[in-house]
Symmetry: none
Subunit: 215 residues, 4 copies
């Protein structure tokens, strides 16, 4: 009665589901297990969600909201602050979200029903380019036009690398059951952006006898 929101069955089901997803994986995510973890009856799930797929979808949407907001705001940052700051902020959020939704997203391969649901939802939910890589690529292209990004790079390739790198790390973290991508989202975002910005090619300043690492 004191926590009218958190104690709601619907909320309990979502929290329980998320918890089980991270601890046991989708294969063990049975409606029975969810109900037990949530402390409610099995049937209760069907009062709040059409079916199991709807429950998962609700979680994906909920856990992506931060990221979505960040993406929605990215076009407004074109020409603002520094490219470095903008990219770091977006990647940091992306890496956090990816860690949460990667296992769910990947699991979709195992269940065509869920996959179909999500495909439909993804298609109808976003007006235009709801796909993170697209948004970042569009941002980079816009900055390119402003001269704040090099002319000879491929925006989509850069976006794909930075976003995709985080996704890959998240997937393998879960796959191998440990934190392989050792660093925090924040640090990884910084390193990734710094590396992407300066490029791999050695600078003139790199006088082979080594001048090294800082600007």
């Amino acid at each position: 009665m004191l926590e009218p929101v958190l104690n709601k069955t619907r909320e309990k089901l979502m929290l329980a589901t998320e918890h089980l997803l991270y601890t046991d994986g989708l294969a063990r995510l049975t409606t029975r297990a969810i109900a037990r973890e949530a402390g409610v009856a099995e049937g209760a799930l069907y009062h709040h969600f059409k079916d199991k797929a709807a429950l998962l979808l609700a979680i994906v949407r909920d856990r992506m909201s931060d990221f979505r907001e960040m993406l929605d705001g990215l076009p407004l940052q074109v020409g603002q602050r520094t490219v470095r700051e903008n990219l770091e902020q977006v990647l940091q959020t992306a890496y956090g979200s990816q860690h949460k939704i990667a296992p769910i997203l990947c699991s979709l391969f195992a269940d065509r029903k869920l996959l179909a649901s999500v495909q439909k939802t993804l298609a109808e939910c976003g007006a235009k380019p709801q796909y993170p890589v697209e948004v970042v690529a569009a941002y980079l292209a816009a900055e390119q036009r402003l001269g704040r990004v090099a002319q000879d790079i491929v925006p989509r390739a850069a976006a794909q690398s930075m976003i995709g790198g985080g996704f890959h790390a998240a997937v393998f973290d879960h796959l191998l059951g440990q934190e392989l991508s050792a660093a925090s989202p924040r640090r990884r975002a910084q390193e990734t952006v710094r590396t992407a910005l300066s490029g791999l090619e050695p600078r003139v300043s790199d006088t082979c006898p080594v001048r090294a690492t800082g600007a």
Copy 2:
């Protein structure tokens, strides 16, 4: 008698499995369906593979062999040819393999038994750094020591981006059911390497007068 190899039951099972995996997903990948698709009895599967997990593993291993070989040869390329050539070659192979194995890899999230099997196999199959990102990162670090790669970038971040970008593209291609990553592996590898090499920061040669992005 003209195709003594392809007509073997074992081969038929692997091909059927791969086909079903791409068309129906792991959820529909029942031993019964595999047998029907392969045109053999269900029990035959268990003559050639310990269980369903072993069958999937065999496919993953088989489809990754090109990639694996490429990775194994990468350390030998340190200091050879150009960094661009080496990276392009490795990424092209990676992108091709990823397209084949990403859905299988992701599906593992849905089945702890399969996951456990694969983790064991992955652990024992590779002597040391069997993880592609590690290999590429090690390569970049080596080139860095030779002065063929900029001193101030983070090898691991670069490797993670380039390899992970391809993985992400493969996953979403399959997820959304279409070729989102429009370009061919070859073209994507080239674009990715070019972008990564030169970096996002605008060059002095870049006509734009702006000072841009730096710290």
Copy 3:
């Protein structure tokens, strides 16, 4: 509402299982057959029992409860009533129980999983001497110390014979599909005890002139 207990699914499953066990044997005792016989769905079995082994174990335990109680009370009878009465009572109960559980017990040989389950349960269920022969042997030894049983006999041999004789009869009754041990448990208990008490050696009173059997 008059028989609230017997109509319960759990009860129906146990009765159906017992019935099938006697009519068809363990080999035909499939979960499908049990469900059909009980008039419930196959899945219902798994609401009431962890698995098939647990169901069988429940039956064994239930059908042995009479016997178990009798055994538990036996130590208290030492020195009470007559040895004849005590043994007759225990054997009568034993013979009844054995007829019910012998086929189940024997069937365990055919299924290591069931066997392991039962061994565990048997080990943990009984405080100390849960093995009938031990209990009866201990009783006889106690009576021996009171002088109510001959000094020169081996209590364990006597117990093994009396208990084991019933078991053997039960097994072969079921094996040969007919009532070979013609007499009722009561009558058999009486005959066995009378024979065991007086011994095979001819008495002086036995009119026959022969001296016979001695060492």
Copy 4:
């Protein structure tokens, strides 16, 4: 060629089967396991035996031959030597055989097809009273008529106890996975016979003053 008998496939199959039966139980006694253990192909079994049941039956018959001979000779011992000697010899052989065939016999409960086979075989193989208990009971009755056994005991009860006791011990030895019936067949036979001969009732010679045990 040097060991023309033991190297025969048929012999190897029987030995392998017996070995597996004692180590793994009937549940693990698959035709594949037998073939592997025997070092022959799976199909070979069906060249030498009609089916798996026939193989088991052959083993039962073979391993009981000692006991069978002993039983067949028992009627001829009536009035010969001492009752004690005759019983000890028969029981010692019985206890040895029972240890070998008890697990097979019991396993029959799990397979009606095998059971039916054996019932048929048992029925047709013995002219008259092929059932051990019957034979021993008949022997005791005969000795009773000669006055070498007490008049007031029930031969069938005595036979059932002595034979059945051994069977029970053999079954539980296998069931519990250890040698519970600690003593050797020889020693157990001696103790059983001594106890059965003298009876449980205390003798006058027994120092204890009590009169005890029933009318």
